[in-house]
Every structure is written in structure tokens, then in C-alpha cells.
Amino acid sequence: MHMHGTGHHHPSAGEGGDEVSSWRMILTMGTIGLLAGLLIVVTYQLTLPIIEQNKAQYLQRAIFDVLPGASRKRAFIVEKDGRLRPEQGKEKHGYKVYAGYDREGRLVGIAIEAKGQGFQDVIQLIYGYDPEREVIVGMKVLESKETPGLGSKIETDPEFIANFKALEVKLKPDMSDLEHPLEMVKKGQKTAAWQIEAITGATISSRAITHILLKSSREILPLIRKNLDMLKQEAP
């Protein structure tokens, strides 16, 4: 590493000329470590409530973004055995889905979080599912590290986002799979309601989104349909 770049080097005690006992070195490092730890803990404690609030607000906005027409929401926990139950108070753990209701208390759709491998790192997203029409009605990327200017367009490109206004995810009658699995096509070649038009120059990121949605909808949508009656009630 470049250390003496600026010519301010003063002649100081020669290297190794001054003997220092080991325990003094340990004591110095230990003291600095202790002070550093204290400072980090204090900062962590002070900023934690604000950061958590920011995250909650961000998710809240995303939920209403992917469920157009919703004005209220209620969280449900997906149990490991595949059952759904309403969230009690504020639960920190468990996989959640969010049911959104309009002003009259009718179920508008369900917001579902999903994630999967993108071009560089995991992409996290949330999408809205309308069980009435069996379509995806909105999609928002929550976290991604795709290439700025190319892959990152999955978050900003209006034409790409328009793919998710009415994307068909109809289940087979026995709910074993989607009637027509989601597929990616080149820009301008969309012919069916279950196709997603890729972003030119960002095929890998577009395909990643398609895969994440396909995998998640295969897993979660049957659960949602089985529990639709519970989801339709806004109040417990």
C-alpha cells in the first residue's frame, strides 16, 4: 500500500529501535477494541429503531404499490405444514403474505414476497396476486444488486413493469401446477397473457424475475386458493 505519498514523513524513531513489551501492545489493542465495541453498540442501539421503522415503511409502501385499489392490509403467516393463520400482534419470524382490502373491506389481492438468484446477487421482490381473476397485478423489486443501467432496469423500466399489470397465473383445476407456466419472450413478441417481455440488454435479470415469479407462484398460489375463505375476511 502507498503510505508515504505526500512528503510529510518526519524522521521518527527507527524501525524496531524502541523495544515495547508485548503486554503493552496487547493492552493498547485491547483498549482500542473495547472502546470501538462500545461505540458500535451505542450506535447500533440508537439507530436500530429508526432503521426498523424505515424497513417497515418501505415494505408497507411496496405492498400497496403491488395491490392497486387496496387501502388496508392484514398479514398472515404461512406455517411449515402449508396452513395459513392470521398474524398475532407483531411477529418477527415466519413467512408472511399480506392480504389487501379496499374501503368496503373486499379482498383486492394478496401481496407475496419472493426471492431468487439474479445476475450478481439475490433479487428480492414482492408481487400482488388477484385470486378473482387469477392474475399478477403488480410487481416491485425490494432488493437487487443488478448491473446499474442494465439489469437495474428491472426496478425502473416502465415497459418492463407494465408486464405485471395483468399477468396470467391460472392454476390447473387440481392445483398441481400453473395452467401455462410463465415464460420470457423478447421485447415486442408477447402473444399470450402469461408471457413476460424482457428488457433489451438485460435478458439475464429479466429471466431471473420470470423464474422467481414462476417458482413462487407454483408454491404459494395453491396455498392461497385453499385458504381463500379465511383471506377474504378482513377482521378476525
Binding site: M1, H2, M3, H4, G5, T6, G7, H8, H9, H10, S12, A13, E15, G16, D18, V20, R24, M25, T28, M29, I32, G33, A36, L39, I40, T43, Y44, T47, I50, I51, N54, K55, Y58, E143, K145, T147, P148, G149, L150, G201
Partner: protein, 210 residues
């Protein structure tokens, strides 16, 4: 260089112009190339680095007589890493979006050699006041440098400045500018420009002397 000429103002200014960490010393290239794809990213990276630089220079200078030479680098790194962690929490508390777009590069301030370089070359040898002035100057120089890359790259690569459309809807963005390749082009162009300025000033000085 004569130490007695180093008034606080000179120490502050040399980081911005005469010894600019990016354009003259060509240090800290990783963040300069990686996060300057937008104006906001550049500003946040510049401020975060300045914060870490000032705080660590302050403590390195304060403890300079207590830290044994043999463990000085390890101690400096510990001090720097502490303030990087603090800066990361603060940025997360201010805006999740900014934290998201800077990603791992905030933690990587730890290994920015400008900071360790100033701790070793300056803060460990001078009193607190001079050390802080030096850190402020270097931080300002670094911020100006990343900003000058960020402005050009966002304007040409996206047609916007800090998210506000400047070039209008008919502008076809030069996508290369916000990709890594664009960072090298813009850095090269700025280095060329500053070296030309410096050469010209030197030539004019020589002419005056003759």
C-alpha cells in the same frame, strides 16, 4: 517541505488542490470507479469517507503517543473500521434506498487507502488540530473528485442529474457511462484535464521567472 509554513488553511487547501487524493495521488480508486454512477451515490460516498477520515484522523492523532509502533497499523485499522460501521448504521437510518444503492461499498471504505494513508503519513505525526484539518481537506478533495465523475456519468449515461431529467426525453443515454467502462473513460478525461491545467500553470510560472 517546511513544517512551519503549514498553517491550518494551507493544510486544508492542499487536500483539495495540490495533493488531491484522487487526481494527484491517484488513491482510493475502487470507490472512485465503482460508485460514481450517480450524483447521489457520489455525494453520499464522499461524505461518508470524509466522516470516517476526520474521525479516525482525530483519534489516531489523539492516541499517537500511546500506540506502540509495532501495532500501529492494526490499531489504525480498528479505529477506521469502527467509524465505517458507525457510518453504515447512520446511512441506513437516514435512507434505506441510498444504503441499498451503495451496497457493499460502504463497508469497503475500511480498505480505502486514502484513510489509512492519512493516518500513517499525517495524523500519527501531527497534533489533533492539524490532523483534523488535513482530514477535512482530503475528504473535501475526495468528495469533489467523486462528484465530478458522478455528474458527468449520470448526465451522459442517464440524462439526469440527481434524478432530475436534464437532457429531455429525446436524449438517448450512453449506457456505457454508468457501466464500469465509463468510469475509466471519465476518470481518464478528468486526469488529463487536471494534468493539463497543472502543466500550463507550471509553464507560466517558468516564463515569469525567466
Amino acid at each position: 517541505m517546511k513544517a512551519e509554513q503549514n498553517t491550518s488553511m494551507d493544510i486544508l487547501l492542499k487536500g483539495i488542490w495540490k495533493e488531491n487524493p484522487v487526481f494527484v495521488q491517484v488513491l482510493g480508486m475502487c470507490p472512485v470507479l465503482a460508485v460514481t454512477n450517480s450524483v447521489i451515490n457520489s455525494i453520499v460516498m464522499g461524505f461518508a469517507t470524509t466522516f470516517v477520515l476526520v474521525m479516525s484522523s482525530f483519534f489516531v492523532s489523539l492516541f499517537r503517543k500511546l500506540i506502540p509502533r509495532q501495532v500501529r497499523i492494526a490499531s489504525y485499522i480498528m479505529i477506521i473500521a469502527t467509524f465505517v460501521t458507525v457510518a453504515e448504521y447512520i446511512i441506513q437510518a437516514i435512507s434505506l434506498e441510498v444504503h441499498k444503492s451503495l451496497g457493499a461499498f460502504i463497508s469497503l471504505i475500511v480498505v480505502n487507502c486514502i484513510i489509512l494513508g492519512r493516518a500513517e503519513a499525517f495524523a500519527s505525526k501531527y497534533p489533533v488540530k492539524e490532523a483534523v484539518m488535513d482530514a477535512l481537506g482530503m475528504g473535501a478533495g475526495f468528495t469533489l473528485a467523486v462528484l465530478s465523475l458522478g455528474v458527468v456519468r449520470e448526465l451522459l449515461g442517464n440524462g439526469t442529474l440527481a434524478g432530475v431529467s436534464i437532457m429531455g426525453p429525446s436524449f438517448e443515454p450512453w449506457s456505457i457511462m454508468i457501466l464500469p467502462g465509463g468510469a475509466f473513460f471519465v476518470l481518464g478525461a478528468w486526469l488529463l484535464f487536471f494534468n493539463w491545467l497543472r502543466e500550463r500553470a507550471k509553464r507560466q510560472q517558468e516564463r515569469v521567472m525567466v
